[in-house]
Symmetry: C2
Subunit: 165 residues, 2 copies
């Protein structure tokens, strides 16, 4: 129906955030363009950690990995989540937008986790950067947003790094 996208007073907007500036620009675009006129929106910050690596007890030279190294790697992962969420919260605070914020951290293949969570939440809009999903995925530039644009059910906003402009 042509009038199906009616003004929705309680919509759920998911912003996929990661370590990139681009994802913070996507959040900023969202706050400026989608959120400000409607304080009853819920903004969901979604961060996807890469799947946990499978550790073998020995490295290539035959040395045993110490549990210190393993826990350091795990700590690094959760520091990354905290750092990204803190940056995102600071972008929201500095926008002066009064909005209900939820935070979700997923783990796994970014494109699959984003689509699955967005569809499960019944989100109204997904906002994300155009490029890969953090530096873990640089080799697949663009593929995450392409995939999500095809596989989520709601409208998807793809925001570019403005230095390209």
């Amino acid at each position: 129906m042509e009038g199906k996208y009616m003004k929705n007073t309680e919509s759920k907007i998911v912003v996929a955030v990661d370590e990139s500036k681009e994802s913070m620009q996507a959040l900023s675009w969202c706050l400026s363009n989608l959120v400000s006129h409607n304080s009853r929106n819920t903004l969901v910050l979604l961060y996807v950690k890469p799947p946990p690596p499978v550790y073998t007890s020995f490295d290539a030279a035959g040395y045993v990995f110490s549990s210190d190294i393993i826990s350091a790697l795990e700590k690094y992962g959760s520091d990354l989540v905290n750092s990204v969420m803190t940056r995102a919260e600071s972008v929201i605070r500095s926008s002066g937008t009064n909005i209900n914020v939820e935070k979700i951290t997923g783990s796994g293949e970014a494109k699959d986790v984003i689509c699955s969570i967005v569809n499960k939440l019944g989100a109204d809009t997904l906002v994300m950067g155009s490029h890969g999903y953090g530096f873990f995925k640089r080799a697949l530039l663009g593929s995450v947003s392409d995939y999500c644009a095809k596989h989520v059910k709601c409208p998807v906003v793809i925001v570019k790094h403005t230095d390209d402009k």
Copy 2:
């Protein structure tokens, strides 16, 4: 910069419209979510006609095409433009949004023309349906929005047909 997407009081939003319901839903989404809070936006309705066919004087059976047939085909093309623009205007009217509307008709390969016009206009946002560009492009479902998401400089909103939801 993280705060680059600041609230813009005079932004130009291009909506790519075609014969599909999906493109009208994209327009409707735009009116409900991007436009309503800012009356100083300009909404550009962009329709791209397929490139004019190269007519040969003879058909496969050796008959000469009459100029009546050629002009009927051309009339069909411009009727299509008018019909799409009329539908789009009716969607805008029924949304009750008071906005400055411009109409642009391009001709050529939809994906190239959309990207070129959006970039030349320095548009702030492109909004379009996720599927092919009208029934001329059914064989390439999704490819136009994929291409545009990669090649325009501004944020791109891809809106799905809500019957899929």
